[in-house]
Symmetry: C2
Subunit: 205 residues, 2 copies
DNA sequence: CAAAAAATGGACCGGCAAGTCCAAAGCTGG
DNA sequence: CCAGCTTTGGACTTGCCGGTCCATTTTTTG
């Protein structure tokens, strides 16, 4: 890729990433060939390597970043305003719907596997995503605590971590089995935990 | 593979699966070549295709089954006797230890991705594993309920599903980020949920 | 408008790894 | 001990696909 991208160049680059993301979702990383992406995006081989000098891995990493950004975006605005039971429920519904609709392809997981955990870039993308996601959930827990709607004894960060793990696992299981009940169970149980702490105020053992 | 396997043949087949599992754990599915497995298991190309006529995918599927069996085995005997707070804690420790030790390779997940979700065989393996795992957890919850140590109002299956999702997600996140705190949070929060229900007996909303 | 830089097209290359094949060796049962 | 199997060895083929290269067109800039 050249130092300075003209608007046309930027458009092409974006088109490649978006088209590649589609292809990868449809065919999976293992099955997707550079030629498929070339066809889909109406580009040539040289363009692919022009905009992603590192080759396929380079492109894959860019797509991973693109997909990672969408994960949180797709949960907005609910994820940013978890300050009432109603908003928690709306967020829950959006998450369930998003992943049920996505079907059985986990773009990020697949990309991650292909590019390799060891690659610093790949790990950084996922780590950042998880950190932001957990932070948003923790903010939500704290917002509820501030309003006295759940116990202030609850460790907001740990609760958020557990909830995030549940969502992740629920999605993973759904990808594998086609059954979203685990995702729903994890979300509902996690949210109910907050509610119980609102009423019970039982001290942790 | 022939209809009837002699003891020697069976031994070779088993050796291939075990050796392949090692190679796949070390190098990852994408990087592992048939020749690597051939070297590791001291076999020849023809043997690989003799015992796994379907080629690489066939072998990968066999390894997936092998790994799936080990997942539950490694949690025994604790997973089969979740009838006291102490046994739950022991189970928790075993899970954390097993996956922390496993490092950043998820053999099953990787295999699954390579072979493809659509493959009926692959999906069946994972589905069966999840069902058994969840069932074991649900049995544990019921055992606690029978002893009056947690509320009988709790939906054992749903609680088990949520806990399983948490474990899955915790492992996934650990694979990606190298941080096991989500796995711990999911396990601890899940078990604490049972304890709270023991004391509080608050009705669900 | 000319020169430089960027964007594009697409033919071509080369390596790699899955899969094939046949011959040879080793068991096993009658 | 031999006839028919299972098991084994390893050279060879094959197709695929990432990556290279250079010519050409388009855009920018001074």
């Amino acid at each position: 890729m050249s130092q300075t991208l003209t608007p046309k160049g930027r458009a092409t680059r974006a088109r490649i990433i978006e088209g590649a993301a589609e292809v990868l979702r449809e065919q999976g990383v293992a099955a997707a060939r550079l030629d498929d992406i070339r066809d889909r995006t109406a580009t040539s081989k040289s363009q692919l390597f022009h905009y992603f000098p590192g080759g396929k891995d380079d492109l894959l990493l860019a797509v991973a970043q693109y997909e990672a950004d969408r994960v949180l975006e797709d949960q907005q605005p609910h994820l940013g305003r978890l300050d009432s039971w109603e908003s928690w429920k709306q967020w829950r519904d959006v998450v369930v719907e998003r992943y049920e609709q996505q079907g059985d392809h986990c773009p990020l997981g697949a990309l991650f596997l292909q590019v390799g955990r060891s690659t610093p870039g790949a790990r950084a993308i996922v780590t950042a995503l998880m950190r932001q996601w957990q932070e948003a959930l923790a903010d939500g827990v704290r917002a509820m605590q501030d309003q006295g709607m759940t116990s202030s004894r609850l460790d907001a960060d740990r609760t958020a971590a557990a909830l995030l793990a549940g969502v992740q696992g629920g999605v993973t299981i759904m990808m594998s089995t086609g059954d979203s009940s685990h995702l729903r169970a994890a979300l509902d149980t996690g949210i109910e935990l907050l509610r119980f702490h609102a009423v019970g105020e039982v001290s942790a053992p």
